[in-house]
């Protein structure tokens, strides 16, 4: 028995800021102080509060140290672990109140959260199956195999109201029911871990922090639909998650929780990993299966749906990581428990990745129906530097922007669609007054142009044309006619593209046109970028009162656009200026500004 456990976050965020080194130093210091038999160091998954990383938590006190550096470690060991004195300067500052230290679960970031999918993340050692079993792991699989018929499993999932967490929101139980209804000699259970939406990293955190939950849920799904084989398709960009999944699969096989005759029943199920190779379109279900088969990951028309003919032409179900992470808890606590959370048509919780212009970047899991305002202001801690909120972007390249006028909207699948965005996988990027919405639309289109697989014309050529028009507008050459063209083309692509990627690719344009048309008009009519982002629309101006006439800017200007006599105010010829900004960078008197 150890008297203290030191939990160090080993998620990607904290690892990137040096948590692996902290673990090494901790272990060395613990040995040096003779505490080897009293204190254990555990590497866990993500705690969610990535902005405060690297994170170190010491139990049993649950002391939460934030932004720990390697140099802080000797002090933590000698003060906290040896002498029992908390190192106040390293505490997460939200926990410090006038009346002493409050618990982590009472801080604004954590108190509104309800963790189901993330329940074990940051709590257990993901590389040790015993710790998963210690938190009721594999109990749901045991219960299902010994007490439930496959139909009862499907009924439970149907009753829970769980909908796909990958974006579309299709009822999970219905998907399973359809696949079960198709007879075949072989069926497959697939897991979509090809988390491609930029800015969404909840699936990665589940896989890094609690890999066994996905294996257990896939086995339950296999039992329900009558499949004996599963594939996890995971991004190769997530090396830590891949490692931990491999370890988890090995341990589960060793314990007989994967493989032949699980729990002594006649149910057999095994799982293999397949690595993606960097193609966004492979997050689309038919493209993903084509990729597992070893081909170019191009989507194909549906029907036939995967439940009829999926992977290797056999009935297949495909669910996302977060969806699976809910399954064992639904089985153990009952569908009524799950359905008691959320809104009428969106049950349970949803994990969001908060990013962009927000203080508490990180992962949060909240009940469906939580208002956007609460997520951004209370949990997210608001916008940094006193800037004004402009929009929240959800759904990645398939979603849209939510403007301030919808700040109080309860977040669920249907509400988001009604205002022109979508849930997507749960990336939530906050933008402030310094972000240009036309530039953001262009940014997403650049992404879709790059990631379009090229199979169907509306997406391959249509997104390219959209991008060209947006480029023209941000360069100050757009006309009002272009805005109409933009909108018409968007609807054309939506109606005619082959797969979900193409059909949703125009959403960032449509939603910014809907809510931020004045910004488009400013670019087109006034030739101005109100946020000061689009370079071609900026003018560099010399303040006559501040200019000392030192001639430095005139000598630096690569295009000879600046003129003026020594010791007299200089002037920029706007027709010659190429907007490189070199003059502003070099001016010693701060006399040059951009507008």
């Amino acid at each position: 028995m150890y008297r203290s456990h030191v939990l160090v976050c080993g998620g990607t965020g904290c690892t990137s800021s040096g948590s692996a080194k902290i673990i090494d130093t901790l272990q060395a210091e613990i040995i040096k102080n003779g505490l080897k038999d009293e204190v254990a160091v555990v590497q866990t998954g993500c705690h969610g509060l990535c902005a405060q990383g690297p994170i170190v938590i010491i139990y049993p006190e649950a002391t939460f140290y934030a932004m720990v550096t390697n140099e802080d470690v000797p002090e933590i060991v000698s003060e906290h672990l040896l002498k029992g004195r908390i190192v106040n300067r390293l505490l997460y500052k939200e926990m410090i109140t006038e009346n002493g230290i409050k618990s982590l679960n009472e801080t604004d970031f954590y108190k509104r959260q309800h963790r189901i999918a993330l329940r074990n993340c940051g709590v257990i050692n993901p590389e040790n199956i015993d710790e998963y079993i210690g938190t009721n792991g594999y109990e749901a699989l045991g219960k299902v195999l010994t007490e439930f018929t496959p139909d009862q499993v499907i009924q439970s999932i149907l009753d829970s109201g769980l909908r796909g967490r990958g974006g579309g929101g299709f009822p999970t139980g219905l998907k399973w029911k359809l696949a079960k209804g198709n007879d075949a000699d072989q069926k497959y259970v697939c897991c979509n871990a090809d988390e491609g939406d930029p800015g969404a990293f909840m699936d990665r955190s589940v896989l890094e922090g609690d890999p066994h939950v996905v294996l257990e849920a896939m086995a339950i799904a296999g039992y329900a639909i009558g499949a004996s084989m599963g594939y996890i398709y995971i991004r190769a960009e997530y090396p830590i998650a891949v490692d931990r999944l491999e370890i988890a699969i090995g341990q589960a096989r060793e314990y007989g929780l994967l493989g032949k005759n699980i729990f002594g029943t006649d149910f057999s199920f095994d799982i293999e990993l397949r690595l993606g190779a960097g193609a966004f379109v492979c997050g689309e279900e038919t493209a993903l299966m084509t990729s597992i088969e070893g081909n170019r990951g191009e989507p194909r028309p549906r029907p036939p749906f995967p439940a009829q003919k999926g992977l290797f032409q056999k009935p297949t179900i495909l669910n996302n990581v977060e969806t699976y992470a809910n399954i064992p808890q639904i089985i153990l606590n009952g569908p009524e428990w799950f359905a008691s959370m959320g809104t009428e048509k969106s049950k349970g919780t949803k994990v969001f990745a908060l990013g962009g212009k927000i203080n508490n970047t990180g992962l949060v899991e909240i009940p469906m129906g939580t208002p956007l305002r609460e997520v951004i202001e209370d949990i997210g801690g608001g916008i940094p530097n006193g800037k004004k909120f402009k929009a929240a972007q959800t759904g990645g390249p398939s979603g849209g922007c939510i403007p301030a006028e919808h700040f109080d909207i309860p977040i669920d699948y249907d509400n988001l669609i009604s205002i022109g965005s979508m849930m997507g996988s749960g990336g939530l990027i906050v933008m402030d007054e310094d972000n240009c919405m036309v530039d953001i639309a262009k940014f997403f289109l650049e992404f879709t142009v790059d990631e379009s697989c090229g199979k169907c014309t509306p997406c391959r050529i249509g997104t390219k044309r959209l991008h060209e028009i947006l480029d023209k507008i941000t360069n100050g050459q757009g006309t009002m006619d272009d805005l109409q063209k933009l909108e018409d083309l968007c609807y054309y692509i939506k109606e005619n593209a082959l797969c979900g990627l193409g059909q949703t690719a125009p959403n960032p344009v449509l939603s910014t046109l809907r809510y931020f048309k004045d910004e488009y008009i400013a670019h087109v009519v006034d030739k101005k970028c109100p946020a000061g982002v689009c370079k071609a629309l900026l003018s560099y101006i010399i303040d006559e009162d501040k200019c000392k006439g030192c001639t430095l800017c005139a000598r630096i200007c690569p295009n000879g656009a600046i003129s003026g006599k020594v010791k007299e105010a200089h002037l920029i010829d706007q027709s010659k200026c190429i907007k490189c900004g070199a003059c502003m960078e070099k001016c010693k008197f701060g006399a040059i500004s951009k507008k």
Partner: protein, 164 residues
């Protein structure tokens, strides 16, 4: 992606080739084996020149155009060798709204290469990538295995200097 012509001559060794042949022999009969084999081949050679694709095509009895089609479809497969130090700038949304676009432009200027290019001495290569999931550290770049976060344009010179 794979459209640039490769100017560096292929210099594969016998050891690399036998490692590749072993990988092919081990996985040849797996379902959908081509992707995992290509991934392992890139691990062995660092990239997938036409010579390597030809070996895979011959050994697996798959037409070369199918192998080439797959290699050029996925952005992770590279037809060109990478630099000794590969600089990768995240252009995911969270990094982009925090200014990673400016960082990428500045690096192109500093290194004198475009997206996917490599300096003439083979020292640095530069690429943009989509979200490595370290959004809490935005904007982020990686150089080989090292991650640098919360960047500003002014940090770049100091960071590159460490690898010169």
């Amino acid at each position: 992606m794979g459209s640039q012509n490769n100017t560096v001559p292929f210099a594969g060794t016998k050891e690399q080739e036998s490692a590749l042949l072993k990988v092919i022999a081990d996985h040849k009969d797996d379902k959908g084996a081509l992707m995992p084999i290509l991934q392992k081949a890139q691990g062995i050679y660092g990239y997938l020149p036409i010579e390597v694709q030809t070996i895979i095509s011959n050994e697996m009895n798959v037409p070369l155009e199918k192998v080439y089609g797959i290699v050029t479809f996925y952005s992770q497969f590279s037809l060109n060798p990478k630099g000794k130090f590969n600089v990768s700038v995240c252009l995911g949304t969270a990094c982009y709204v925090k200014g990673s676009g400016d960082i990428f432009t500045k690096l192109q200027e500093m290194l004198g290469v475009e997206d996917g290019g490599c300096t003439n001495d083979g020292h640095f290569s530069l690429e943009s990538c989509r979200c490595i999931g370290a959004c809490g550290l935005a904007p982020v770049l990686t150089i080989n295995e090292d991650v640098y976060g919360k960047l500003s344009v002014d940090d770049l010179e100091g960071i590159l200097a460490k690898y010169k």
